[in-house]
């Protein structure tokens, strides 16, 4: 289990890069494509092995791209901009497919359902998770985050701000993380709130379910820790520490054995889930690392694992994961 730096593109965007996602290989395109979104209000696409730019940058994301998510079929992706618009676009042509408008500051992280029939968005200031269907792009429902039992009064007085969202790989669970550290878990089939997961007390910016144990959830939090939850049994089953500052992003390797995290301490770390410890630290970025993403399996001749990381230093790095 290790990472080896393959390539790094400095100045990939004109400004800080904030989001990255892999659009998986599809029938019409043999390889996966890396999408990145940045403060310079563009989304760019990159080839998977040499990080050569694919097509011109897609513009029109006012004030910067906050979050990116790719549809599991590989053709579509969604980008959230700071002015609370979600633009759904065709990965290859960059053409808009739909523009979903949310009330101001009511959308942040997005994720497609693993089967691809819904798009979930962390509802920011609305304190909820919003769901759209992916056929007509109409809102399905909005799942509110209830206040936890006996919660402390909110310090900022501005309600809960929901930052991140994650689907379990079997599509049965949906989790969302908020700025005060609460994580809400929903039954995604019956669209019902199940329970909160406790343990974090600062913003939870990123989370991901394990691909092998569909109820194991990994979370990244500003309190510098990574937690492992049994989301079904509502228990904290592991915690990993080592970052010197906020953990901004997390992704799990396709084999389910490792997670990678990006942090404000400018490093990317690789963690062994079984050992509950950090096995490698990459410090090639010179500013905080806002997103890490493992390439999904599948596609022509793709055996090797790939990890991409993007940072405020305007660069993209690609690593070999083996």
């Amino acid at each position: 289990m290790k990472l080896a730096g393959l390539k790094s593109v400095d100045g990939a965007h004109e400004e800080s890069i904030w989001a990255a996602a892999w659009a998986p290989a599809a029938d019409h395109r043999p390889t996966a494509v890396l999408l990145t979104g940045a403060l310079d209000e563009t989304v760019r696409a990159w080839r998977p092995d040499d990080l050569a730019a694919v097509g011109p940058p897609a513009r029109g994301h006012a004030l910067g791209v906050v979050s990116l998510a790719a549809h599991s079929a590989g053709a579509l992706a969604a980008a959230v901009s700071l002015d609370s618009f979600v633009r759904v676009f065709d990965v290859d042509s960059g053409a808009s497919v739909a523009t979903l408008e949310a009330p101001p500051s009511e959308v942040w992280g997005v994720q497609f359902h693993p089967k691809g029939n819904a798009l979930a968005a962390a509802g920011g200031g609305s304190g909820s998770v919003k769901l759209w269907d992916t056929e007509k792009w109409e809102p399905i429902t909005s799942l509110a985050v209830p206040r936890p039992e006996g919660a402390r009064p909110d310090k900022t007085g501005s309600g809960k701000f929901v930052l991140s969202v994650a689907w379990s790989p079997d599509g049965k669970l949906l989790a969302c993380g908020s700025m005060d550290g609460t994580i809400a878990v929903y039954d995604a089939v019956r669209m019902k709130f199940l329970h909160h997961l406790e343990g974090h007390h600062m913003p939870v910016r990123s989370m991901v379910f394990s691909p092998v144990d569909p109820h194991v959830l990994f979370t990244a939090c500003d309190d510098c820790h990574i937690h492992i939850y049994d989301a079904k049994e509502k228990s904290l089953i592991g915690a990993m520490s080592g970052h010197a500052s906020w953990v901004l992003s997390i992704d799990v390797s396709p084999d389910g054995l490792a997670v990678a995290t990006g942090s404000s301490d400018r490093t990317v770390r690789l963690w062994d889930i079984n050992m509950r410890s950090s096995v490698q630290t990459m410090s090639n970025h010179s500013d905080q690392v806002w997103a890490v993403a493992f390439r999904p399996p599948g596609g022509a001749g793709v055996r090797a694992g790939r990890l991409a990381s993007v940072s405020d230093d305007k660069s993209i790095s690609l690593y070999d994961y083996s």
Partner: protein, 1194 residues
């Protein structure tokens, strides 16, 4: 089946050919094959007709074989014929001949081997296969046969070779793959075995054997999940296969053990329940297999050990009885699982009483049952059942070291324990468990030295054993000294991570409470698990409460403390034993109640404790605090006096804390004077803790008359911690600012100079830097915005929330508050700011990053709006920015609307509405503009916010709309407001003439003067600005003389801005032009010259005007020089036609004068082309056409 016509025809042909030439074997053979096929086709295989045909065929085959003895095929047919006839001897011979002639003949080979197999001639069979295999590498049948035989004979490595070869011939034969898998499996090549089994399953998904075997291998390799999957699919194929059930149960058991070590107890329990079901079914299928019962016992025992207590039912309001019931339920569940285990072990024992380890397992199980069941009181004279069972195991196998350890760990007799462990160590010196247990015994009996030695040995033998770490942790914990406690925490953490026992976890929590590690997630996880594993321990609930409390989850903390008390009530010990523990928990409870805002309940708790005389120092503090909160201040003070009396008897650090508490409380109840009195009463030599210093400095700051000149404050910094000292200094600086009376304006200067000194001392302290920055912005210093940015530093990641303003706020405010337009791109405007603060664009990105980092932070969004607005203003309100701004403002407003109390928020709302109004005005939407401004007036009470600018905005809007009446009204409103902003008055002056309102400039000027005096701001700067505006008004009225006068005044004030100088020059030139007054040209020239020198970027038009002035004054070279300057001060795409025209003039001059100077700009092109370009840019100017005519004439 009778012969058909075609067949008859064929036979005739064959017979004829044979008759034609009977010496050719092929003809015999062909006819034989035909007859044989006919015989096969007969309906009755052994009917007379068939027999007849076969006999005929055999004759022909025989003839063929005789004629050509080197062809094997007829022999094979002969063999078939004899085999059918039951003559195995001859058949075998014929087959042998066939195989010997052609080793690749699979049919003959298989038939021969089958014959041999039936007769049990295995070695012969082997020999035949080997021979065939040796003869031809393509004799795959032989390799296959050989492989199977070798597998049968357990010659695994030979079998692998044969099977691999055979697979080349039959790559899709699942049997071969399965056999290969088995061979690999037996040789211990597990990965290869898994692959082979996998291939077999792939080819034929109903391979139960392959599924089960590969499941077993996966289990052995530790891949429980895959193992479980495989056993499950085997069960789908064969629902009554007991080995699949056995495998499933053991896989689930192993998986659950893995879960337990990571702490996922709920998960483990679920897996174990499933495992128990599987084991039960397996037992019902096999009945009398001891190992199945043992497996079931193991599963049940594991379940009993990891079954978690679930507190789902207890939500609110802990009822002691409910808690008790819940714990009892949990205990019963465990007991029933343990009893189930016991029963299974009993059955296993019944079946195989000679198995020592079942005895041992039963002993362990019994021990668990005894430890869980409260009703069993141990009678020292009777041997416990578990001890007995353990001894039984030992009698069967006296040399098993593990049994000795088991006996030692469950015996209650100290001597027997020690004896057992020592016996175990006799058997194996490096048995780490025995050493660890021995250490535990020595520790319990107080023999520390021996305990330490034993633990050290255990740890050095096996560092992954939890117990020695725990022992070392306990050792360190009781020693004094800061570092050892941390070591103790580390050791205990390791112990709890290796083995998540509730005892270790509670210990970890206790140590964490002392070392301040309660926030660590590892501790949280351990303590939560401890509660689930040991709900009957009061300590687990208590620590759990502490953990929740430290995470500010007070409601849960209260619930946990109450549970702890209920658990205490369930303890068997007498009440008096638990008295102090009870008091501790109650104090915790009171504190949480207070923190959760339930002060009355907290008071009640404390009073109850007090009545029992159990109120400790901590309790007293909470009591006083809660009393104060409930409004019983007098009582609170008396309690705090009570506390003060006890101060001398305390440890110094807790005394310091208590003292700080008393001061703060006294201040809160009876004000600063009494608090000061408390401090004065302090013994002088008392070594102040840093917190106390902070309190004193804060009091000092609030106390303008400086009665607290305590020497301790100015102590050298080495003695106290860095953070607190910087806070103390920040307090002192604030104190300097509010020196004198409270209602006077702040004395920012004194504070600033103090802060500068502090910064010199602590150069990397962001708190001081931020405070300095915000005070600078506050100070109204003309250049504050530039200085503030220099002192504050933006750090990444953590933004310090300390201080008056964050670094981001300071930077953003500085960007917005620079009066000069700072655009870096000269397309929109020209920067006149002398200090070149040109990082505005970058600053917006900083703010966007901040919003991205803290999307919930409304301050960040608000500042972003301001910054973008500033940019929009500089870029003349482009449409897309207006749209973004409108959206952003709506967003911030929608979030700010819910807090009406806060003055700052009110002001922000007011400002945002005005911004929104301004954007509407700029996009020519007057109705909305007015509506927004009125909304701003409506939403904000005038006592909180100075509404001057709302009226001002309305006045502008009405004026633009042409509604003079309303405009005038608003103007008067503005005048009445006595706003405290200089800028407001200056701008109002502007409006006065723009709306052609009656002149009250005197009044405005008066107001401005008052305002300047009140704020102590720079008189000359503001006067010159005011004069500039007046001049602009005069110019608007075409009153150039007055304008010139005003501008001259403005220029005379101190250090005028370049734009004032420029306007002065331009006005002079205009007067000179209009009124033909050449004396003004000489006035214009110096102003323009100064303006040119002062501005950093070269201002356009200045040079042009200066060129004209200089030209008029008779200096041709200066005229030329300035015209060239003018050319370069424009961006290429922005140059107006006039510049080209001037260049044409210049070109004509220099073309006439000196053509060799071709490096000059004007010589780049001919005068004609300059002129043509000018005309191209502006064809409507008749001057250019005239010049062109002249040029053509010339």
């Amino acid at each position: 089946m009778p012969e058909t016509a075609a067949e008859a025809n064929l036979r005739r042909q064959l017979e004829q050919t044979l008759a034609a030439d009977p010496s050719i074997p092929l003809h015999h053979y062909d006819l034989g094959v035909f007859l044989w096929a006919r015989a096969e086709a007969e309906q009755e295989g052994d009917g007379d007709e068939a027999r007849r045909l076969r006999a005929a065929a055999a004759e022909h085959f025989l003839a063929a074989a005789k004629l050509n003895p080197n062809d094997g095929v007829p022999f094979r047919f002969l063999g078939n014929h004899y085999a059918r006839g039951g003559d195995t001897q001859r058949a075998a011979k014929c087959y042998q001949r066939a195989v010997a002639l052609n080793a690749d003949d699979a049919e003959a080979g298989e038939a021969l081997c089958d014959l041999l197999d039936v007769e049990g001639k295995e070695s012969l069979e082997l020999a035949v296969c080997k021979e065939a295999a040796g003869k031809s590498p393509r004799a795959f049948w032989a390799f296959r046969r050989l492989g199977y035989l070798q597998v049968h004979q357990r010659k695994w490595s030979d079998a692998i070779q044969s099977l691999q070869h055979a697979i080349r011939g039959y790559p899709t034969c699942a049997d071969l793959w399965e056999a290969l898998g088995l061979a690999y499996h037996r040789l211990g090549m597990f990965t290869a075995a898994v692959k082979s089994y996998g291939r077999a399953i792939e080819l034929d998904s109903s391979r139960v054997f392959a599924l089960i075997e590969s499941g077993n291998i996966q289990l052995m390799l530790g891949y429980f999940r895959k193992g479980v999957e495989q056993f499950r699919s085997a069960l789908e194929m064969a629902p009554h296969n007991h080995s699949a059930y056995f495998g499933l149960a053991s896989a689930l058991l192993a998986w659950s053990r893995n879960c337990v070590t990571t702490g996922a107890f709920g998960w483990a329990a679920n897996l174990l329940k499933e495992a128990s079901e599987a084991a039960k079914i397996c037992a019902s299928l096999t009945k009398n297999l001891s190992c199945v019962w043992k497996l079931h016992g193991d599963v049940q025992l594991a379940l009993a050990r990891c079954f978690p207590w679930v507190d789902e039912k207890i939500k609110r309001g802990v009822d002691a009885q409910m808690f008790k019931d819940s714990v009892q339920e949990w205990r019963n569940a465990i007991l029933s699982a343990a009893n189930g285990a016991k029963l299974s072990y009993q059955r296993a024992l019944h079946l195989t009483p000679w198995e020592a380890n079942v005895h041992n397992d039963a002993a362990i199980c019994l021990d668990l049952i005894y430890s869980m069941d409260d009703n069993n009181r141990h009678d020292p004279n009777v041997w416990e059942l578990s001890e007995k069972m353990s001894l039984g195991a030992l009698i069967l196998e006296p040399v098993n070291k593990d049994f000795w350890v088991t006996l030692g760990s469950m015996s209650s007799d100290l001597a027997l324990k020690q004896h057992s462990f020592i016996r175990a160590l006799h058997l194996d010196m490096s048995l780490s468990e025995a050493w660890a247990y021995l250490g535990k015994i020595y520790r319990q009996s107080g023999d520390k030295q021996l305990a330490k030695e034993a633990f050290d040995r255990a740890r050095s033998i096996d560092p992954s054993l939890a117990l020695p770490w725990a022992g070392m942790s306990a050792e360190n914990y009781h020693q004094s000294g800061g570092s050892t406690v941390n070591e103790s925490f580390e050791s205990c953490l390791r112990a709890a991570q290796i083995l998540p026992l509730p005892e270790f976890q509670i210990g970890l929590g206790t140590i964490a409470a002392r070392t301040g590690n309660l926030l660590s997630p590892q501790v949280l996880m351990a303590v939560r698990q401890a509660v689930h594993r040991a709900p009957h321990y009061p300590e687990s609930h208590n620590i759990n409460g502490l953990v929740s409390e430290v995470r500010s989850d007070f409601q849960s903390a209260i619930r946990f403390y109450q549970q702890a008390r209920s658990a205490l009530g369930m303890m068997k010990n007498s009440k008096s034993d638990n008295k102090y523990v009870f008091a501790d928990v109650s104090v915790n409870l009171a504190r949480s109640l207070y923190k959760a805002g339930l002060a009355t309940d907290a008071v009640r708790e404390c009073e109850e404790l007090r009545s029992q005389g159990l109120l400790s120092i901590d309790g007293l503090q909470i009591y006083a605090l809660a009393l104060w909160k409930t409004g019983r201040s007098e009582e609170a003070l008396s309690v705090s006096r009570n506390l003060a009396e006890n101060l001398s008897g305390m440890k110094p650090e807790s005394a310091g804390v208590a003292l700080g508490f008393i001061c703060t409380l006294t201040y809160a109840i009876s004000g600063k004077d009494s608090a000061a009195a408390v401090i004065h009463k302090l013994p002088g030599q008392l070594n102040y803790s840093s917190q106390l210093k902070f309190i004193i400095s804060a009091l000092d700051a609030l106390h303008p008359n400086k009665r607290l000149q305590l020497p301790q404050l100015s102590m050298p910094p080495r003695l106290t911690s860095y953070e607190v000292m910087s806070e103390v200094h920040s307090n002192i600086a604030l104190g300097k600012a509010i020196e004198g009376e409270m209602d006077k304006p702040l004395r920012v200067d004194a504070s600033l100079s103090y802060l500068k000194k502090v910064l010199h001392m602590y150069p990397d302290c962001s708190l001081v830097r931020n405070q300095l920055g915000s005070l600078l912005l506050w100070s109204g210093d003309w250049m504050a915005s530039h200085k503030a940015i220099r002192v504050t530093s933006l750090t990444h990641g953590h933004t310090s929330s300390m201080g008056l303003r964050s670094a981001h706020q300071i930077q953003a405010s500085a960007m917005v508050c620079c009066y000069a337009t700072c655009t870096s791109y000269p397309k929109f405007s020209f920067p006149t700011c002398e200090h070149q603060y040109l990082s505005g664009h970058d600053e917006i990105h900083h703010l966007q990053r901040w919003v991205h980092r803290e999307p919930w932070n409304q301050d960040a969004r608000y500042l972003l709006v301001l910054a973008i607005f500033q940019k929009a203003r500089e870029e003349k309100y482009p449409k897309h920015m207006c749209i973004i701004l409108k959206r952003l403002i709506m967003q911030v407003l929608s979030n700010a609307s819910n807090s009406h109390e806060n003055k700052v928020v009110q002001y922000e709302v007011f400002l945002l509405l005005l911004l929104s109004s301004e954007i509407c005005l700029q996009s020519l939407d007057y109705e909305n503009c007015i509506a927004q401004a009125i909304e701003a007036l409506r939403r904000t009470a005038s006592r909180c916010v100075d509404t001057f600018f709302a009226h001002f905005q309305l006045c502008r809007a009405y004026a633009v709309k042409g509604d003079l009446l309303n405009s005038r009204n608003e103007y008067m409103n503005c005048l009445k407001k006595h706003a405290n902003t200089e800028m407001g008055w200056v701008m109002l002056k502007h409006l006065e003439s723009a709306c052609s309102l009656e002149t009250c400039s005197d009044e405005i000027y008066k107001n401005l003067r008052e305002c300047i005096e009140r704020n102590g701001s720079d008189l000359s700067k503001w006067t010159s600005l005011f004069n500039l505006v007046s001049a602009q008004c005069f110019i608007g009225d075409e009153n150039f003389a007055s304008a010139e006068e005003a501008l001259a005044q403005a220029c005379a004030e101190g250090d005028p801005d370049s734009c004032i100088l420029f306007l002065n020059g331009a006005t002079c030139m205009e007067i000179a032009r209009r009124f033909a007054a050449p004396q003004f040209i000489s006035r214009a020239a110096p102003s323009l010259r100064k303006a040119q020198q002062k501005s950093h970027a070269s201002l356009p038009l200045v040079s042009l005007l200066l060129a004209q002035a200089e030209g008029s004054l008779g200096s041709k070279t200066k005229w030329e020089k300035n015209l060239r300057l003018e050319w370069f001060s424009w961006l290429p795409e922005l140059r107006p036609a006039e510049v080209y025209f001037q260049m044409h003039l210049l070109a004509r001059q220099s073309a006439a004068a000196a053509s060799q100077q071709n490096q000059l700009v004007e010589t780049m092109q001919s005068p004609e082309s300059w002129l043509l370009r000018a005309i191209h840019l502006n064809p409507s100017c008749s001057r250019y056409w005239k010049a062109l005519l002249q040029l053509m004439d010339a």
